[in-house]
């Protein structure tokens, strides 16, 4: 088992290499460089800086140097924050981002599944309609629109919650988590509802009822597991959506997470910083998908060997 696991993990490496290569190529294809700011540097300083970061080398050399460092676990320096390494910067932002992301995903799973089940238990009744309206809304309003609306309502009008910033208080995360989770809640509710409606039509649910089990028992023990399967397969894309969404949300709410470095890095052509964030997030998504595959196989006995 563990040998197979290891082999499957190794198979993920080419994906990550491709990701790094593409990001590297795209970053360098974009016009401008890290030291072309408005306030022009003296020629000598620029040459010196470029030499220090190997930017004077041909691109393929730079690429190989980057990969070489990476193989030693070194994400390289940041041009913008010369006193700190990319790894340090990401390490500083990661706890905030991880907290935000995992809270948003958990909220999306719990609320999304609960809403989907409620809707499926009362098809075409008001409960179902309400959930579907919410789901369509959650999917059609992008979170960069939703976030300011939430701030306007909860912070500016009602003064109930802080509008942004981060000093470690839980209520500061409430709006960002909500804004990040809502589109996922919508998708998960729809998935759950559809799966639930399908499962409840199966002959084995009829058998469960023929045994005299209570409706609660039928839903929780007999229907829930197969309903989990499509939801779990969606967790991979959901994680990707949450990570990319968090880049925007952290920016809007002024949270010092990884996403903020990503935006700053991209604006300043801080190649190492951007590559580092892409690599970390890419690894997270790939690992998440991997875990989802394992979980999926555990839940469906027919998929096990």
């Amino acid at each position: 088992m563990s040998a197979r696991l290891l082999r499957r993990l190794l198979e993920l490496l080419p994906t990550l290499l491709l990701l790094v290569t593409l990001t590297f190529a795209m970053l360098h294809a974009a016009p401008g460089g890290p030291f072309d700011s408005e306030r022009a540097l003296p020629e000598a300083t620029r040459v010196q800086l470029e030499a220090r970061y190997h930017l004077d080398q041909p691109l393929w050399r730079q690429y190989l140097i980057y990969l070489g460092d990476l193989a030693h676990g070194d994400l390289g320096p940041s041009y913008q924050y010369p006193d700190r390494s990319v790894a340090e910067l990401i390490g500083a932002g990661l706890p905030v981002s991880a907290l935000l992301g995992s809270l948003a995903m958990s909220l999306a799973l719990i609320v999304g599944m609960a809403l989907g089940i409620i809707a499926a238990m009362k098809p075409h009744r008001w409960q179902d309609r309400a959930v579907m309206v919410l789901a369509v809304g959650g999917l059609s309003i992008p979170n960069f629109v939703l976030a300011p609306l939430l701030i306007l309502l909860m912070a500016v009008s009602l003064h109930a919650l802080p509008a942004g910033g981060w000093s470690g208080r839980p209520q500061e995360l409430l709006l960002p988590v909500l804004a990040l989770a809502l589109p996922q809640i919508a998708t998960i509710a729809r998935l759950t509802r559809a799966a639930m409606l399908e499962v409840m039509q199966t002959p084995w649910i009829r058998t469960a009822r023929a045994k005299g089990l209570s409706e609660r028992h039928v839903v929780l023990r007999h229907a829930l597991r197969p309903v989990l399967l499509p939801v779990i397969s969606y967790l991979g894309p959901a994680a990707a959506g949450t990570l990319t969404g968090s880049v925007v949300i952290e920016q809007i709410f002024g949270l010092p997470g990884v996403g903020r470095y990503f935006v700053l890095g991209a604006l300043n052509r801080d190649y190492g910083l951007v590559l580092g964030v892409v690599l970390i997030y890419g690894t997270l998504i790939v690992l998440f998908n991997f875990a989802v595959d394992l979980l999926y196989a555990r839940l469906d006995p027919r998929q096990r060997e």
């Binding site: 002959p203 045994k211 005299g212 089990l213």
Partner: protein, 317 residues
């Protein structure tokens, strides 16, 4: 003096509300079954056999509207509370379905699916319920019963799955077993074994069996009495041997002719019943079978019919 039957269905109608209007799929069925007795319902597919069985279970689904009476041990199930119906279901009235693969939950272990019946109805402890589950599997002759408990349905053969379904139905000791085409999905040798098992359960446990099938060969082995349904109506009722040897309704006779039998040389075309059952949404002639009946007379289509002397026909054979 006669005792009240275990099951008595009176004027049962089942209608379904559908987007294309209401459709009555069972129209005024009457039947009686004594404790420990056997009764078969036969008919082409779509004639309303399963809907009749599900009506006894109370499992026709949310679109169904039921009228008439279903008396079980003197109690009208159609007016019983949902909680009361649940208490009877699985405990005193059990049902076995056609497709044993689809009818078992593929995600749960066999043991759990058996044991939960006892946990629900008897408040049995988990360990007691699993022990009883092993004993019940053993009694329906599932080999290596203890190991089976930890298996999933897909690990079992079709015949084994149907034995598990039967074990699940009888585990709480019901008085009535409804078997809806229990052998249709199985190959012939396994079919015979399952029928023998049902017969044995009837003898040993005094289980009353309501067997639903479209296979007349199955009926003759198991049931004393047989009902024939056509397009939601009862068209003939007779002791099985009499029905097979001297059918009175032309539809029963046609079913018998359509039956493959040993006498037919292989390759010879069977005398299959021509035409289609009527569309239940359309208005139908007084005798619903008249359009397909080779003995039909001009009066068959419009003179209203009564179920008399075991047959619903103006010109019985």
């Amino acid at each position: 003096m006669t005792t009240a039957p275990l099951l008595s269905v009176e004027q049962l109608c089942v209608a379904h509300r559908t987007p294309r209007g209401d459709v009555e799929v069972v129209s005024g069925i009457n039947l009686q079954l004594e404790a420990g007795g056997t009764l078969a319902i036969v008919g082409e597919s779509g004639s309303g056999k399963s809907q009749t069985a599900l009506a006894i279970m109370g499992l026709n689904g949310p679109s169904a509207c039921l009228t008439g009476r279903v008396l079980f041990d003197g109690e009208n199930l159609l007016t019983a509370s949902p909680a009361r119906r649940r208490a009877l279901r699985g405990a005193r009235i059990a049902m076995v379905f056609q497709d044993p693969m689809a009818s078992l939950n593929p995600y749960l272990r066999i043991g759990l699916q058996l044991a939960e019946v006892l946990e629900t109805h008897r408040g049995a402890s988990r360990s007691a319920a699993w022990a009883e589950a092993a004993r019940t599997l053993d009694s329906v002759r599932v080999s290596a019963a203890r190991e089976r408990l930890n298996q999933y349905p897909h690990e079992l053969s079709g015949g084994m799955r149907q034995r598990v379904m039967i074990a699940m139905a009888i585990i709480a000791g019901p008085q009535l077993l409804i078997a809806d085409e229990p052998t249709t999905a199985l190959d012939p040798t396994v079919q015979a074994q399952i029928l023998a098992l049902l017969d044995e359960l009837r003898r040993d446990r005094g289980l009353a069996i309501l067997l639903i099938t479209h296979d007349l060969g199955v009926v003759s082995r198991l049931c004393e009495q047989t009902l024939v349904m056509y397009a939601g109506k009862l068209v003939e009722s007779a002791p099985t041997q009499q029905l097979l040897s001297r059918p009175r309704h032309p539809y029963t006779a046609a079913l018998l002719r359509a039956r493959p039998s040993m006498q037919h040389p292989p390759g010879l075309r069977l005398d299959a019943l021509p035409g289609q059952p009527p569309d239940l949404r359309q208005t139908m002639p007084a005798c619903r079978f008249a359009p397909r009946c080779r003995y039909a007379q001009p009066d068959c289509a419009d003179v209203p019919l009564q179920f008399e002397r075991g047959v619903l026909c103006r010109h019985p054979l």
